[in-house]
């Protein structure tokens, strides 16, 4: 039976798709059969970040409507055998995502996959609520910035009250904080909320901190999930995230200022 993970945030542009792509790739690289689904009907982007945009034939809505079967719509990743992408429809609207339809697709995937990663659109409308509804775990992607933190808290309220688990009185969705676009320098200068500030406000388990990094734009430019850039700070941070999710006890990296020598500290540089 598969575990369903939603990557959510409320606010747009905080790194949900980057995270969904990296996380799914990380799980697949660990040997787990993983599917990653784009719930952003009308504004699909996961295919671009995964680098499979030219191989899209059928999409999520086609499968829901019975116009294609799952095997026809799933795109196998060329780099990793265990990884499959289910793209969103670019032409339909979000109302195409019915609870029965989404539930049916997830059920069928759950027969043969270990993990199903749901990449939620921004906002709290149908695509976002459908991405959350069936989840077992939630990764709440947050930037150290007031509107993002507030929106994340709002999503926590929805996760707790409007999910299948909540409606059936089952164990609640496990919620994890992923803080992205973090800049230790700016935190040190008192210009940015710290990891601790955000954790205190949201009271969530910290899955990881992704530093603000050039490598994220490089990765999306070339359609390669940033976790495959093993030399980069963001790539390594995502590898830690996957490890922690799988239960490994890893110290948090990239949250302190890089150590500098006495003189460079004194005179700047």
């Amino acid at each position: 039976m598969a575990r369903i993970i939603v990557v959510t945030s409320g606010k747009g542009g905080v790194g949900k798709t980057t995270t969904a792509a990296a996380f799914a790739m990380g799980l697949a690289r660990r040997g787990y059969r993983t599917a990653v689904i784009d719930f952003d009907v009308g504004l699909r982007n996961l295919d671009l970040i995964m680098g499979c945009e030219r191989r899209v034939v059928y999409d999520f809505v086609n499968v829901i409507n019975g116009e294609a079967n799952l095997n026809q719509a799933l795109i196998r990743d060329k780099r990793t055998d265990n990884l499959f992408v289910l793209p969103a429809s670019q032409t339909r609207d979000k109302e195409a995502l019915t609870k029965e339809g989404v539930g049916g697709v997830l059920n069928e995937l759950a027969q043969t996959f270990d993990y199903i990663v749901c990449d939620s659109p921004a906002g709290i409308e149908r695509g976002a609520t459908m991405a959350m509804y069936f989840a077992d775990d939630a990764i709440v992607v947050t930037n150290p910035e007031v509107s993002s933190v507030r929106d994340s808290d709002r999503m926590l309220g929805i996760l707790a009250s409007k999910s299948k688990r909540a409606e059936n009185n089952e164990d609640p969705i496990r919620e994890f904080l992923l803080l992205s676009r973090y800049s230790p320098e700016r935190v040190f200068k008192g210009e940015m909320l710290s990891v601790k500030d955000v954790q205190d406000i949201l009271s969530l388990d910290l899955l990881g901190v992704i530093p603000e990094s050039m490598s994220v734009l490089n990765a999306s430019n070339s359609g390669v999930p940033v976790i495959l850039d093993e030399q980069s700070d963001a790539g390594q941070a995502y590898m830690d995230v996957v490890g922690r999710y799988l239960g490994e006890d890893l110290p948090h990296r990239f949250i302190d200022l890089p150590k500098k020598g006495f003189f460079s500290r004194l005179f700047g540089g």
């Binding site: 933190v149 507030r150 309220g157 200068k189 008192g190 909320l193 500030d197 406000i201 700047g268």
Partner: protein, 85 residues
């Protein structure tokens, strides 16, 4: 970060602390709102209607609040009657 920057940073409080304070208040408020049962505003309206039959009240002086406790919830109804009421 140089020596000068260090003094500059420690002198001015930095906007992060303002962000933290604003968020703490806002999130607490949002959560209280979220946990409020949806029937409260209607209950308040109906209570005002019933009480107005008997005494004259200022609707701004009626408050209905639900406080959630560990063992029990308390529905608090506060009505301040006018001096001539």
């Amino acid at each position: 970060m140089g020596l000068l920057d260090y003094f500059r940073a420690s002198r001015s409080k930095g906007s992060a602390s303002i962000a933290r304070e604003r968020l703490q208040i806002l999130v607490a408020h949002d959560r209280a709102e979220r946990d409020r049962p949806s029937y409260l505003p209607k209950l308040q309206e109906e209570l005002i209607a019933v009480i107005s039959k008997y005494v004259r009240i200022d609707r701004s002086k009626v408050s209905v609040n639900l406080e959630r406790g560990e063992k029990q919830d308390i529905l608090e109804l506060n009505i301040i009657l006018g001096e001539d009421g």
